[in-house]
Amino acid sequence: MSDSNVAVGTSRYGLEVGAPGIRSVGPITFGPSGILFVADNVSAAIFAIDTGDSGAAGEVRAIDVEKVDTRLAAYLGCAREDIFIRDMAVHPYSQNVYLSLMRGTGDSATPVIAKIDGDGSVSALDLNNVSFSRTSIPDAPAEDDSRLDGHVVFGNREGEEIKMRDGSSIRIAREPIRTVTVTDMSYVDGTLLVAGASNEEFASTLRRIPFPFNGATESNSLEIFHVSHGKYETASPIRTFIPYAGNTSVLASYTCTPVVHFSLEDIKAGTQLKGRTVAELGSRSTPLDILSYKKDGEEFLLVANSSHPLMKIAASDVDRQESLTQPNEPLGVPRENLPQQGVSKMANLNGSYVLMMQVDSADNVDLHSYSTSML
């Protein structure tokens, strides 16, 4: 049997058993040997976790689960409104579906990595006892930030005690004010690519973190600019991206609207590069997720949007697309609107399905599988 059926060797990837101290869960993506990367934007860290899911995929099967948010709420003992689903990923070997979600908000918010089996049954990873490793999201504040950003705290939990001249004392906490919020991740050939947005400067930084984690992330980032209509060059945080074409290319969508292509070869070489704008998705709609799949040996990309229909683009058209230089219709690559409604997240399933998370008109969250031959 292949590697996939053996539990992940902890030392091979630098994982250790313990309690990682995850405080929140956001974007997730699978890495080598079924290891799950989880971005924790509250801790400003990324965790690599052994899900312990060594099940073989067995026969190819579709997954259709209605009202997954109701099922999650029942399992987690809360209301539907307390469930905030952040991301979805499919285990590369077992084909089980994993969801990162927050249960509740504020002080009582609990991070959950839920697993949905094909029959709809729900379970959750025990995040207090797991094989894991950790890396910080690199954006170290300048050395004098803490001096400037201290604030007074009450109680004894946080901060350090400072004695005042009059003999009284106060407590000062120096949490970083500047943060990076991870918006998407993808693992390619030993490197975790991390897209994020700063809460201060408006930058298009894509971070590259080698895995196994070795602490070397500081300077391994690059800025990706794009040009609108041949006239204006700007930066923008990346909202969602997908490597495709055998991990030689990336399609990314920005927080402003353009969809941009760049080559992973260029990434290896540079610290600054220009992405080629291949499409603009129009106003009043936010791209939510991008996926690539194969149909009859040809590769296609799907872009899910907050307001526009699900969009299908042929990878070959992306490669052929000239950089957009004129502001006219149609804007960029030819695209086909697919009928699936309310799609927020997508993942490849069993090699021949695309799994979609869809929100219906009553705000129920359903999981449906669509055969790639029908898309």
Partner: protein, 323 residues
């Protein structure tokens, strides 16, 4: 019956979910145990305040009994308020990119979109589509400062949303930025009150931030008086906190405290020890932005045909001054 068999016959679920019509509804994760004459259930995730839970019991005859338990809602008067909003100036440019909201205590995530509005000052009607929708909100580590972006797709020249919908703001049309009091803090309580900041909208800012347009006011030797810098435009409050530092001419760091002036139009520095006479410099990180997202390095939406928009490569620029 042994505890392991109990959960085949007793399930606990949040009451409101029973109406969803899912059969079987997963039962709430946790474990049962018997102690003395009582059956205890320990949930894996804590019971939620203010929620009703149903205990579903399958009896031997096949019928099912439902009991219900209530968890009281959390009490408490609001304590959290908005401490500051930046920009603090009365006039902002047409292409304003970013607003900071500073709270007095940690806040809940996921509530920003429905709690923030930009209203027309005259009609008090909300302007639609002003803010960028972010699934992952931009907070500081302590969850006390929120960064709100105006939709960059509508601000950047040459993009479809700018062409179709125009800028989020309109020159000469005053607005009110409003933080609703129902914005929950991390304990689930509302704010003590709503907060509003009025802005007039002026012309767009479309040039690189240029330190040679700044005015420096050096301190007196032997004093601990402030060094002051006056900008030609309102600067980004967040980046001002750490993008300028003071050194002697030989590169030795001068330690002190920073203050940002009204409208983010000035920055001043008071050293911890008296100024030594002689040459000094202010070292500025070129990623420092103005309120429209232009930095020292580049214009926010650089016009490729305009050589004044050409970016600079340097990571820092130095402004010498003599004490």
């Amino acid at each position: 019956m042994p505890a392991e068999e109990i959960d085949r016959h007793i399930r606990i679920v949040p009451s409101d979910l029973l109406a969803a019509g899912l059969r079987p509804l997963p039962s709430t994760a946790g474990s049962f145990f018997l102690e003395e004459d009582a059956l205890w259930f320990t949930p894996r995730f804590p019971f939620r305040d203010g929620l009703d839970y149903s205990v579903l019991i399958d009896e031997l005859g096949g019928t099912s009994t439902t009991l219900s338990i209530q968890r009281p809602a959390a009490a408490g008067a609001p304590v959290t308020s908005v401490v500051a909003v930046y920009p603090s100036s009365a006039v902002v440019p047409l292409n304003l990119l970013r607003i900071y909201v500073q709270f007095s205590s940690p806040m809940s995530e996921g509530r920003a979109e429905r709690s923030l509005q930009m209203l027309r000052a005259d009609t008090r009607k909300p302007l639609p589509g002003v803010f960028l929708r972010m699934v992952h909100e931009l907070w500081d580590s302590g969850r006390r400062r929120l960064t709100v972006l105006l939709d960059p797709g509508r601000i950047k020249r040459g993009l479809v949303p700018n062409a179709e919908d125009g800028y989020p703001l309109s020159e000469g049309v005053p607005v009110v930025f409003r933080v609703d009091e129902r914005f929950e803090d991390s304990s689930g309580r509302t704010l003590t009150s709503s907060f509003e900041r009025a802005y007039d909208i002026g012309p767009p800012l479309r040039s690189k931030v240029s330190p040679d347009q700044w005015r420096l006011d050096p301190p007196n030797p032997g004093s601990q008086g402030p060094l002051s810098v006056y900008f030609d435009r309102p600067m980004d409050r967040g980046l001002l906190a750490h993008c300028l530092r003071v050194e002697t001419a030989s590169g030795e760091r001068v330690l002190g405290d920073i203050a940002v002036g009204d409208g983010e139009l000035s920055w001043s520095f008071r050293p911890h020890s008296a100024w030594r006479p002689g040459g000094h410099r202010i070292v500025v990180d070129t990623k420092l932005e103005d309120v429209a997202g232009n930095s020292i390095r580049r214009v926010f939406d650089r016009d490729l045909d305009d050589p004044d928009n050409d970016p600079i490569e340097a990571r820092t620029v130095s402004l010498p001054f003599t004490v």
